[in-house]
């Protein structure tokens, strides 16, 4: 059984069909890339999976469990972490606090625990900090942990978003254009990080326009155009697929 199954997924916005009977699977431990011209519906697919809006038709299953009708925070709790195309960090919080936020759904202390601070709560707070520090180290942001998120340079902000999503302890990490705006060195570091994340046991689903990244790290790629899947397979196959080339021809990329 695949980790994530998407069947017949359809979403209309007014008269526009953003996603059209999409069918695909993500297997445990793989890196699946999704490419396609602008407006092909890629981010919409992410938003449907993370529950930000409901599909008009179709089914989404994580480990066999349907995700339909669940609120986004429940879906996250099930084990899907994400980043956003336009970075959506908690700008006025520190780097550390941003990552700690990711631990929220894995911890339980409520208002009573906050006020009374029994031993269990204090231990939990400690573990939140330790986990957050671990993820910061992994994404090489530990030095900046007291900085405000909004003051970070762009590349670091992208990495922070990933660190925050990792703090959730996801099975599946979905990354929306993580390389956008990064320079060559940052891109290489990103590719390395993504590999390491996969090696740690997390499955990855990413949208990217940077072909070097997608072709370089993906195990498989699916291609979307106008909401439909037009190709699927190993990077080399997809790259030479005439329909894929046609979809990109004539578009400003």
């Amino acid at each position: 059984m695949a980790l994530l199954e998407v069947r017949n997924l359809t979403k209309n916005f007014g008269g526009l069909t953003a996603v059209d009977r999409l069918d695909f699977e993500i297997n445990e431990g793989e890196i699946l890339g999704m490419i396609g011209p602008n407006g092909a519906g890629k981010t919409t697919v992410f938003n449907l999976i993370s529950g930000i809006y409901p599909p008009d038709e179709g089914e989404i299953r994580l480990n066999g469990q349907s995700l339909l009708g669940l609120r986004p925070h429940s879906i996250t709790e099930q084990g899907i972490g994400r980043t956003f195309q336009t970075i959506r960090l908690f700008r006025n919080l520190t780097v550390m606090e941003n990552v700690m936020a990711g631990r929220h759904c894995r911890t339980r202390a409520g208002w009573l625990g906050a006020i009374l601070q029994p031993k269990s709560q204090r231990l939990e707070e400690q573990s939140i900090r330790e986990q957050a520090e671990r993820h910061l180290q992994f994404m090489k942001l530990y030095e900046q942990r007291a900085e405000l998120a909004k003051n970070l340079p762009y590349g670091d902000q992208r990495r922070l978003e990933i660190a925050r999503a990792l703090a959730i302890d996801p099975h599946l990490l979905i990354l929306d254009e993580p390389a956008a705006g990064l320079n060559e060195q940052e891109t290489n570091e990103l590719m390395q990080s993504i590999s390491q994340i996969r090696d740690s046991g997390i499955t990855i689903f990413l949208i990217e326009h940077d072909m070097k990244v997608v072709m370089g790290i993906s195990d498989r790629i699916i291609v979307l155009d106008n909401g439909k899947k037009i190709a699927e397979g190993a990077p080399a196959e997809v790259r030479d697929n005439p329909r894929v080339i046609e979809a990109y021809l004539g578009r400003e990329e």
Binding site: R91, A101, A114
Partner: protein, 346 residues
């Protein structure tokens, strides 16, 4: 560096210590019933301000109807105390609980509303509560005109629950182990203890998992939800906890003045509480205290000092509100975060 920023450099803890010592000695230092009474007003409003600070400051929700929760706590206490003679201390948790339940019921359907709309709805709720309190159950007799509900006519005519525009009198004073609180300075220490307790609890809430969740929801609700924070639950909790505290303040107030009426819980009261939070410094505990001084104590001092401009008081007040926002929108003693948010022009 401006004066206020320099003050803030002092370790907040020392400041609290000094203030506590001064506070404890206050009735002895200032032997005046009148000023002790003013101090008691300060405490009640400080509690209200701190409770509203949870909703407006931490969770970032627009609340201009907070007087409703205050009223629910006060009237619950008043009715149960004056009619059934239940000791008011026992009613403290009851007042808090009833307010909290009330808050959960009315806020659940409106949580998804955008800031300004939420503001208007809360104003609406506040007024509905006040009008209901003023009209009392007997005014609902018109419902018996609906077919099938004729039996209501007999039950509702003359039924007094809230005491109408005149309110309720004869609320019991709080008592513990045989000792009844009667003098202003008795109440002073009672209220001081409550405020100290509240501040202690608030600081812990601020820096907890829940406090962080509130901040995340305030910063970017969608991102917070996507990171696994149940934003509905978190917002409900803000309303419930804020309301519970306001209800407790209502209980204390009712047992202090022993007579309450609907006009003490008007929109104007909600405005005062809102101003306390925003003018003092949204989201910051010292800010709320400073705000309470500004909104409650300062006018009293001015009243003594500048007798002849008494009638200009409100005019000055309005102008002061505008000026404060134009020149220092982050408030007198802003929390670190809110200042950062404003600096960016977010």
């Amino acid at each position: 560096m401006d004066l206020i920023a320099r003050w803030r450099k002092l370790d907040e803890r020392y400041l609290y210590l000094a203030l506590t010592i001064l506070a404890v000695l206050f009735p002895w230092l200032v032997r005046s019933v009148r000023w002790t009474q003013v101090a008691n007003f300060f405490f009640v409003y400080a509690l209200l301000g701190l409770s509203l600070n949870i909703i407006v400051g931490y969770a970032g929700l627009f609340q201009l109807g907070h007087a409703a929760f205050y009223a629910v706590g006060a009237y619950t206490t008043a009715i149960l105390s004056s009619r059934y003679n239940i000791p008011t201390f026992w009613l403290l948790p009851v007042a808090g609980l009833v307010s909290a339940v009330f808050a959960i019921l009315i806020s659940r359907p409106i949580l998804h509303l955008r800031g300004d709309y939420l503001c208007i709805v809360t104003i609406g709720f506040g007024e509905i509560v006040r009008i209901s309190l003023r009209n009392d159950a007997s005014s609902l007799v018109f419902l018996s005109k609906i077919p099938g509900l004729q039996f209501l006519e007999e039950k509702l005519t003359g039924l007094v629950i809230t005491g109408g525009p005149n309110g309720i009198f004869g609320i019991n004073r709080p008592g513990i182990l045989g000792f009844t609180f009667r003098q202003q300075w008795h109440y002073f220490y009672l209220f001081l203890a409550f405020v100290a307790l509240t501040i202690f609890a608030m600081r812990r809430l601020e820096n907890s998992r829940l406090g962080r969740a509130w901040t995340c929801v305030r910063e970017d609700e969608l991102a917070a939800e996507a990171m696994g924070i149940d934003t509905v639950r978190v917002k409900l909790l803000a309303f419930a906890i804020g309301a519970a505290w306001a209800g407790v303040a209502g209980n204390l107030y009712a047992s202090w003045v022993t007579v309450i009426a609907p006009e003490s819980f008007s929109f104007w009261e909600s405005v005062i509480m809102f101003c306390i939070v925003v003018l003092g410094g949204t989201g910051s505990i010292p800010g709320v205290l400073v705000g309470t001084v500004g909104m409650i104590v300062l006018p009293e001092i001015l009243r003594e000092v500048l007798l002849n401009i008494q009638q200009w008081r409100m005019l000055i007040f309005g102008a002061a509100m505008i000026s404060m926002m134009v020149f220092r929108p982050e408030g007198l003693w802003p929390s670190q975060r809110f200042r950062r948010e404003l600096e960016a022009g977010d």
